[in-house]
C-alpha cells in the first residue's frame, strides 16, 4: 500500500518533454492550469483533453503510469460528481424520483469538474514524471530567486525540498520496517474502528520520528563535511539554458490558450 505512492516520481525517458528547461516547465504548468479552467464549453473542454493526450504521447510515459497517478483521487472524483449531479439545479429536469431531482446543468457541471480534476492531476504528474526532483527544485530556486532580494531564503527552501524528496523513499522503507517490527511484537494494525486504528499508528510514528532526528543529525554532519555553507558562493554542475524546445513549447501553449479563448467567445457558455 505504501509503495503505491507515485507522486514526485521521475520516469527516465528521451522525449522533448524531458528536455524542456525546468523553469520553462513550471511556467507552462501554471499556464496549463489556467487553460483547463477557462474553457466553458464542450468544444474547448475537448480541446484541452486532446492537448493533454498529445502531451502524454510525446512524453513517452506509459499509459499505465499515467493511470496510476489518477487512481488515488478516484474517490474524490466520484464524491464531487455525485454532489454536483444532485445539488445543482438549472436547465431541463432529467430525472425526478421522490426528493431526487437531476437537472441537465448538474450533469454538465459534473462532467466539467471530473475532467478538470483528472486533467489537473495527470498534468501535474506529467511535470514530475518528466523532471528529476533536483531539476525541479533547481528550476524553482531560479524562478523565485528575485524574491531573495526581499529577504525570502529561496536557496534554503529549495534545499529543504530536495532533502525532503530525497528522504521520502528512505522513510517509506523505514516505516515498512517499523511496521513489521511492531507486528512481530503483536501490534494489531488492521482491525478495529477508526479511532483504534489511529491509536495503533502511534507506536509506528514515534520510532519513525526519533530515527528521523538521528538521520537529520547525521545528514547535517555529512553536509558540513562537504563544506556546505548555504547558497552563498555555491556553483552548480548543471547550468540551465533556455533553448529552441522551450520557445516552441511556449508558442504551442500560447496558441492552445488563444484557441480556447476564441472558442469561449464564439460558442455559447455551458457552465
Amino acid at each position: 500500500m505504501i509503495s503505491d505512492i507515485t507522486f514526485g516520481q521521475y520516469f527516465p525517458a528521451e522525449s522533448p518533454l524531458h528536455r524542456i528547461d525546468p523553469r520553462a516547465k513550471l511556467i507552462l504548468m501554471i499556464a496549463y492550469i489556467v487553460l483547463i479552467f477557462i474553457g466553458n464549453n464542450f468544444v474547448s473542454l475537448a480541446l484541452s483533453v486532446a492537448f493533454l493526450a498529445f502531451i502524454i504521447i510525446i512524453s513517452k510515459i506509459p499509459a499505465r503510469m499515467v493511470l496510476k497517478s489518477v487512481k488515488p483521487i478516484i474517490p474524490i472524483i466520484i464524491f464531487t460528481s455525485i454532489l454536483n449531479i444532485f445539488y445543482i439545479k438549472g436547465g431541463k429536469l432529467l430525472v425526478s424520483w421522490g426528493i431526487i431531482n437531476i437537472y441537465t446543468q448538474g450533469v454538465y457541471t459534473a462532467i466539467f469538474v471530473v475532467l478538470r480534476i483528472a486533467m489537473l492531476i495527470v498534468g501535474s504528474s506529467m511535470l514530475t514524471y518528466t523532471t528529476t526532483p533536483t531539476a525541479l527544485t533547481d528550476g524553482l530556486e531560479r524562478l523565485l530567486s528575485p524574491l531573495s532580494k526581499i529577504g525570502v531564503k529561496v536557496h534554503d527552501l529549495a534545499m529543504m525540498m530536495t532533502i525532503a524528496l530525497r528522504f521520502i523513499p528512505t522513510l517509506i522503507e523505514e516505516t515498512d520496517k517499523i511496521m513489521s517490527a511492531q507486528k512481530a511484537r503483536g501490534a494489531d494494525l488492521e482491525s478495529g474502528n477508526l479511532l483504534q486504528r489511529i491509536k495503533a499508528l502511534i507506536p509506528i510514528l514515534i520510532p519513525l520520528f526519533v530515527s528521523s532526528f538521528r538521520r537529520a543529525y547525521d545528514l547535517a554532519v555529512a553536509m558540513e563535511c562537504r563544506c556546505y555553507k548555504g547558497g552563498k558562493g555555491r556553483t552548480r554542475m548543471k547550468i540551465l539554458h533556455m533553448g529552441a524546445v522551450d520557445y516552441i513549447s511556449f508558442a504551442v501553449m500560447a496558441i492552445v490558450i488563444a484557441a480556447i479563448i476564441t472558442l469561449n467567445i464564439l460558442l455559447p457558455k455551458v457552465i
Binding site: Y10, L165, T170, R215, D218, A222, R226, K229, T235, M237
Partner: protein, 291 residues
C-alpha cells in the same frame, strides 16, 4: 614523509544532563603521515569516532591542539580549507547522501566549494570512475545496494580532492560483499592516488591492510604498531574485548598447543604457507597438484 594530522594533548568531554563532564578523549597525542593508511580500532565508546570528528573541525578539542597540514582546527578561518582536505565518511550511507541522483550527490561537495561548472563535471566523472560507480551515475541512490551507496559516499568526498579521508566504520552496515567492495576501494585510493587514509573499524580483517594499527581504550591510545606487532598481542587485545584476524587466532591457538608457528600471521595465505612448511619439515610430502 611529513605529518599530515597532528594531535597534541587533545582532550574532549561531553556534558550529561546534570552538566557533569564525561571525558571522552584524554590527552591524546597522535599523528598521521602524508600517504599513510592507519587503522583505528577499539570498543564502542572508546572515543574513536569522537577523535575522527576532530580531524575535520566538526568537533573542536576542549584542550590541546589538532593541526591538519599545519592548520589549527580551532581557527575558524581554516574550517573550510580543512574540510576540503580531510573528508569524513560516516557509517550509514543512507544518511550522508543529499541529492536524489548519484552524480548530483557527488557534485554537491565541489558545488559548495564554488568550482566552475565544467570542472565539477570532470571531477564528478573522475570520482565516480575511481570508485567504479560511473555506470550508475544516473541512478537514484535508494535503489543501490549498501556497498554501492557507501562507494557513492566515498566518491562524493574524493570529488573535493582531499589529501586525506577519514572513514568512521564505513562497512559496519554492509554485507560481506559490500564490505569487500568498500575495502578494495579504500586500498586503491591509498595505493594509486596516494590519499592518506584513517580507517575506523571493528573488523580486524580490514585493519590488517593498514600500515599502522592504533588501539584505543577509554579515551586514550593503548598501543600502536604495524598490524604484525599489534595482533601478536593476542592476550592483551582479548582482555580489552577486541578480536584479532581469524587466522591469527588459529595460529595463536595452535602455538599454545605447542605447534611451532610464527606469532605475526595476518593473512590466510601466510597461514596456509606456514602450516604447509611445518608439515614438510615434519616429513609430510606436499601434494604437487595443490601447488
Amino acid at each position: 614523509m611529513s605529518e599530515f594530522i597532528k594531535c597534541e594533548k587533545v582532550s574532549f568531554q561531553y556534558y550529561n544532563d546534570d552538566s557533569k563532564p564525561i571525558p571522552v578523549l584524554k590527552d591524546i597525542d597522535f599523528s598521521v603521515k602524508q600517504g599513510e593508511f592507519v587503522a583505528l580500532v577499539g570498543r564502542n565508546g572508546c572515543g574513536k569516532s569522537t577523535l575522527a570528528k576532530h580531524f575535520n573541525a566538526i568537533l573542536l578539542p576542549a584542550e590541546g591542539k589538532v593541526l591538519i597540514d599545519g592548520m589549527d582546527t580551532s581557527d575558524d578561518k581554516n574550517k573550510y580549507d580543512i574540510r576540503q582536505n580531510v573528508g569524513l565518511v560516516l557509517q550509514n550511507p543512507d544518511n550522508q547522501i543529499v541529492a536524489t541522483i548519484v552524480e548530483e550527490d557527488v557534485a554537491f561537495g565541489p558545488e559548495n566549494l564554488g568550482i566552475p561548472s565544467k570542472e565539477i563535471r570532470e571531477r564528478v566523472d573522475w570520482a565516480l570512475k575511481a570508485v567504479d560507480m560511473y555506470d550508475y551515475r544516473k541512478h537514484a541512490p535508494h535503489k543501490l545496494s549498501g556497498g554501492q551507496k557507501q562507494r557513492v559516499a566515498i566518491a562524493s568526498i574524493i570529488a573535493m580532492r582531499p589529501k586525506c579521508i577519514v572513514l568512521d566504520e564505513p562497512t559496519a552496515m554492509l554485507d560481506p560483499k559490500g564490505r569487500r567492495e568498500v575495502l578494495d576501494t579504500i586500498r586503491k585510493l591509498n595505493s594509486e592516488l596516494g590519499i592518506t587514509i584513517v580507517l575506523i573499524t571493528h573488523y580486524m580483517d580490514e585493519a590488517v591492510y593498514a600500515n599502522r594499527v592504533v588501539v584505543m581504550e577509554k579515551g586514550v591510545i593503548a598501543f600502536e604498531g604495524t598490524p604484525g606487532e599489534v595482533f601478536s598481542q593476542y592476550d592483551q587485545l582479548k582482555s580489552m574485548g577486541l578480536d584479532v584476524p581469524q587466522c591469527t587466532r588459529l595460529a595463536h591457538k595452535l602455538r599454545k598447543k605447542g605447534v611451532d608457528l610464527p606469532a605475526n600471521i595476518l593473512h590466510v595465505d601466510d597461514c596456509v604457507r606456514a602450516i604447509a612448511d611445518l608439515f614438510e619439515k615434519n616429513g609430510v610430502k606436499r601434494n604437487p597438484a595443490a601447488q
